[in-house]
């Protein structure tokens, strides 16, 4: 199971990195939501730096479908040339939810490298809080919350799905 979930997330990253977006969407649960809350420096170290309201991104499956439809268009200027993207996934922490549906809370650390040739590659790192469920025998990504390690990221760092 551990290996299955690790392979699932490595495969999922591979689909994003190779631009196979339709296949990637197939890995998403219908209710999938992708959130990137904004980190803000707080005085009290016990407070989470991740804001409850502010978010860099909030994307549902249907919105992501729009995003990828756009990428296919000849007028997606920011995607011409397409960026090279590579995910490095590590520090898997898998916790079965133990409810009656088979579901797992999976935490990973991810480094994403993005290069818009010929510009130099840009690195962004984050922690991911995923929920993975098994539906009809297959694993699906039910939600992803990204804890970015930057308060003021660059547009290039934000230009990827973590």
């Amino acid at each position: 199971m551990r290996a299955e979930i690790e392979d699932f997330l490595v495969h999922e990253a591979d689909l994003l990195d190779s631009g196979r977006y339709a296949d990637w969407l197939d890995l998403l649960h219908e209710d999938f939501l992708y959130r990137v809350p904004v980190p803000l420096a707080r005085e009290d170290p016990t407070q989470s730096p991740y804001d409850d309201v502010l978010e860099f991104a909030n994307e549902s499956k249907s919105f992501l479908e729009m995003r990828f439809r756009r990428i296919a268009s000849d007028f997606a200027w920011a995607e011409r040339p397409a960026a090279m993207v590579r995910h490095f996934v590590s520090n898997f922490r898998i916790t079965p939810e133990g409810g009656d549906v088979e579901a797992y809370a999976v935490r990973t650390n991810v480094m994403v490298v993005r290069a818009r040739l010929p510009e130099v590659p840009v690195i962004a790192t984050a922690g991911r809080h995923d929920r993975i469920v098994r539906q009809d025998g297959v694993l699906l990504l039910a939600s992803r919350v990204v804890h970015l390690d930057a308060e003021v990221p660059t547009e290039s760092q934000l230009g990827v799905i973590f």
């Binding site: 991104a57 549902s60 660059t154 547009e155």
Partner: protein, 427 residues
């Protein structure tokens, strides 16, 4: 209008030369009224946020007696930042180096060992945090370092009327939803400012995919537009529906709320806002504003919902600038509607949105295209609208230099003119 009477373009070196940036910090950011925060971000006494005014870090705080202060975030002893976080609430700012303590009003309240170490005659009142002049309009907090600058309303000139129409529509006023966040982007800050000053011309090309995806809804229909500008450099572009079939209203708000607002609104303001599909503009030099009501952003964001976004541009170096984003909502709107408005602004104009990506891509490609020798000989072109016909009068009457063209560079020329004037590049 003849091009002759207009400023020539900004030399490309002004987008490359670090010495020019240093001059801009002094002549433009050091002498203008700059937006720093919205009152709703610091509702309680002791609330504060930290911001930038060009190259100077500031604290914006709410003090006793409901005053708002904007002051340099730098200890008067040896310059240490006395506040290191983005926002919070406090009674004092304590410097971490030697412990000088400042009030939320910036006054120097305490100095460790003061009497023994600095002597009886040491005068604390000389050493409060440096204060910027501060004025508030519709909750927008502006500040300037220039003691000789005309007051805010004078500096806004005839543009004030449009800020009323923009921020004064709802009787209950507007508030910031959530707060502010920032992104660093490539490209000189002036490129971004110009874009918001009134560049409608790029929509159909740069953002063509938005139309293809049906995001714009009615905005994709028959539209006309106008631009308005003020010699002080303030600019605005208003696009509205020519389509008679569409009811006259401001789209994307809860019915009761908008009806109340329109009923109470000045008739001209009402006409100005009704049927407007998008208003964007620039409060010179670096406050950008936009309001519109997209139609569709996915099954969980279906139907027109309006949003109002503010941006502030802060130069990082000649090739990069920081963009700060705020989302404003009517204070009296329902929590559900506010959340939805924020969802829409995030998906359309959020830092990670692909609508935004189209613009940022152009900004970075302008930066990559600056060149050196040949670039210096290739001035930018500002002739859009020059010698072109104007349309009929707008359905409203407002002050300022109104140009009855939807696609024109009249505003960009205004921005450039004011900028070159401040930089001492024009007689």
């Amino acid at each position: 209008m003849s091009i002759a009477s207009e400023p020539t373009a900004v030399p490309r070196s002004f987008y490359r030369d670090p010495a020019v940036l240093e001059r801009e910090l002094g002549e433009v950011f050091g002498r203008s009224w700059l937006f720093v925060a919205h009152e709703s971000e610091i509702p309680q006494v002791g609330d504060y946020v930290t911001r930038s005014m060009g190259g100077d870090p500031v604290i914006v705080s709410r003090t006793q007696g409901d005053g708002v202060r904007v002051m340099l975030n730098s200890c008067t002893h040896r310059g240490t930042q006395v506040c290191k976080v983005s926002h919070g609430n406090t009674t004092t700012f304590r410097c971490g180096y030697h412990g000088w303590v400042f009030g939320t009003d910036g006054d120097l309240k305490g100095v460790p060992g003061r009497r023994a170490l600095y002597g009886p005659d040491f005068d604390l009142s000389r050493l409060g945090l440096r204060q910027a002049r501060t004025e508030v309009l519709h909750g927008l907090i502006f500040a300037t370092w220039d003691p000789d600058a005309p007051d805010l309303m004078t500096s806004l000139g005839e543009f004030g009327w449009y800020l009323d129409a923009f921020f004064g529509l709802f009787p209950g006023g507007m508030e910031v939803y959530g707060g502010m966040h920032r992104v660093n982007v490539r490209g000189n800050w002036k490129i971004h400012a110009e874009n918001f000053s009134g560049d409608g011309y790029h929509l159909q090309v740069a953002h063509r995919t938005m139309f293809e995806l049906g995001v714009m809804g009615d905005q994709a229909g028959a539209v006309e537009g106008f631009v308005v500008n003020d010699p002080n450099g303030h600019c605005l572009r208003s696009q509205y529906l020519a389509d008679e079939g569409v009811p006259a209203t401001v789209f994307g708000y809860e019915d009761e709320l908008i009806e109340k607002a329109l009923a109470a609104a000045d008739p001209e303001v009402r006409r100005f806002r009704e049927k407007t599909t998008v208003i964007h503009g620039l409060v010179y030099p670096n406050l950008l504003l936009i309001t519109t009501a997209p139609r569709y952003f996915g099954t969980d964001a279906d139907g027109s919902v309006a949003f109002t976004q503010l941006r502030v541009l802060t130069p990082i170096d000649q090739h990069h600038h920081e963009v700060a984003y705020w989302s404003l909502v009517p204070r009296d709107a329902s929590p559900e509607w506010k959340a939805k408005s924020y969802l829409y602004v995030t998906r359309q104009h959020g830092a990670a949105s692909y609508f935004e990506a189209d613009d940022l891509e152009n900004f970075r490609r302008i930066d990559a295209g600056l060149g050196a020798v040949a670039g210096a000989r290739t001035p930018y072109n500002y002739e859009l609208g020059v010698g072109a016909a104007e349309s009929g009068p707008p359905p409203w009457r407002g002050p300022g230099r109104i140009v009855r063209q939807d696609f024109t560079e009249a505003n960009q020329r205004t921005f450039v003119g004011r900028y070159l004037e401040q930089m001492g590049e024009r007689a």
